[in-house]
Amino acid sequence: MTNIKELSALSLLMFFGIFIPFLAPAYLTQFSELWIFMVFALTWNIQGGKMGYNTFGNIIFFGLGMYICASVQIGYAFNLADWTAAGGYKTFVHNTSQYFMSLPIGLLLAGIIPMLVALVLGSFMLILRGHYFAIGTLGLGIAAGEFATTMDIWGGGMGMTVPVWPKVDGQDLELFFGAKRNFFFYLTFILFLVTFFTLRWLYNTRFGLILTAIRDNEDKAEAMGIPTMRYKVTGWLFSAFFMGIAGALFGNINGYIEPTEVAFNGATFGVYMVLMTILGGKGTLWGPIIGAILFQLFKEFFWTYFLGWQLVALGFLIVIIVVFFPEGLMGWLRGKKPEWFGEVVDKKARLAQVTINTND
């Protein structure tokens, strides 16, 4: 995409990011979810789109980040075991300073610990290729959910609550022209921006090109002396970091964390991130963003007007995507307008005869 197009798309997003709380306060949760969905799609695209490794395991980092952040937030002020054991019978309330001291630490750890987990998991999972990797990560995602169910400190299958928004004189604390919803809306927006610009930079470095090379022909990349394993694992670290923080924010927005329905929900979020990326066009920077917007629109529409049939409608959408836009919207656009993507289309070049002049 040329810079002008990218700039206008970005300004549009910035406008929505800043003014939505004033324009559509009733839909704030949906918009927060949209930013998180964009992070889902952007990070899934590192593996699924750029690198050609279809992962169903990125949800692990999301759930893990969610639990870690909530644990840190609670553990900062209270005893975590007491909190989950109380199960709502006893109320613990964070004061303002406890809340805002614990949150940044929680967010940071929610990024870093999933990264370490990705380093360990990636070091052996990424040996697998193609379908085997997909199946392997699918299993890991389910295992993570089951594992969380056995963790009593996190409330096991009962789940746990997150700290409630602090009150000042009996009123919800006001921040950013509103309370908790506005605050987390802006945090998710910032997370989206940071993810977007990090990946935008990443894809323009040698690292980004090598990810594409791995997708196109991993054997060749190895034969040219590229330690592909190192690049694949590092790529997963990026996904894990942003997914972890996305999970931390989602947990706080949702207010309640449960192992298989909220945190490690591979059947919904785990599939959504794949769908969004494919819908928008995998392997491109803007594809996942466009895909996430379209998907969120479809999803809200289906859930509102086809309740009970929403999964059927979603299935129908998947069929349409796969049949008519196998390369996604961006891929379709690339076929129509290759010059927008910096590709030089020169008929002469395509027809040119290859000759070697033996005299020079």
Binding site: F207, L209, T212, D216, T228, T234, K348, A349, A352, V354
Partner: protein, 246 residues
């Protein structure tokens, strides 16, 4: 002249299939050596063994005195030993220029991973692309090239990496007869100008005769004969192996 590559008593079995049995050969620095043999005689297996694609069952492989047989695939090219493939392997979705630029040998240390590609690479890439006659096609996606053109691109990518020794697996397969002359010329220039040792698997005897200074011939996983092209051409065992005499 010293030997750049020494293969000693290498064996590779796939279950009961003896793909390579007790193979020994040595290649002098700066020479052009050819490896011939009927289909299925174990030539590509030997290539794969040398570059570490699969572990060998027996023997040793030394490149400039360094033992390769325990090294990983990606550890060998930085030493200066590079191979191309019989079935072309290129980065199909990327332009030819990108294919070239990414083939440049650089450090893969964590601190250097996120460097941008330097602008100077463009000139170098264009220079090698015109060397193999692909300059006009530099902006096309590599996947759009024909099989023969992809072979040329692979050769150019290998040169971009700046190897000391190149192992080419059938560089002229699928290329039209007129262009083959060009390739022979280029291979000789590569050897002469860039001082790259060449080890070439080839079926086209015209190419072998024009190119190689020394020829090894394999059959049924064993080294059958070696000598100058003329000696090999007149060797009864070689003729029998190719023509199927018992």
């Amino acid at each position: 002249m010293t030997n750049i590559l020494e293969v000693n008593n290498v064996s590779k079995f796939f279950g009961g299939v003896r793909a390579n049995e007790d193979i020994s050969l040595s290649i002098k620095q700066g020479s052009i050596v050819s490896l011939i043999g009927p289909n299925g005689s174990g030539k590509t297996t030997l290539f794969n063994s040398i570059v570490g694609t699969h572990p060998i069952d027996n023997g040793s492989i030394k490149f400039e005195g360094k033992e390769l047989s325990k090294m990983l695939v990606h550890e060998i090219p930085p030493l200066g030993l590079l191979r191309t493939f019989q079935q072309t392997k290129i980065y199909g979705q990327m332009s030819c220029m990108m294919n070239m630029k990414i083939s440049k040998k650089v450090s893969n240390a964590y601190t250097r991973m996120f460097d941008k590609l330097p602008k100077e690479l463009d000139d170098e890439a264009e220079q090698y692309l015109s060397f193999v006659g692909l300059y006009e096609k530099r902006n096309l996606r590599a996947g759009e090239l024909s099989f023969g053109q992809q072979k040329l691109l692979e050769l150019a990518m290998a040169l971009m990496n700046g190897p000391k020794m190149l192992m080419l697996d059938e560089p002229t397969a699928g290329i039209n007869p007129t262009l083959i002359n060009g390739i022979i010329d280029r291979l000789i220039k590569i050897n002469d100008k860039y001082k790259i040792t060449l080890f070439v698997i080839e079926h086209n005897m015209r190419v072998v005769m024009n190119l190689a200074q020394h020829v090894f011939c394999m059959a049924h996983g064993k080294m059958l004969a070696d000598g100058t092209p003329q000696e090999i051409k007149n060797d009864k065992r070689v003729i029998d192996a190719y023509l199927g005499a018992s």
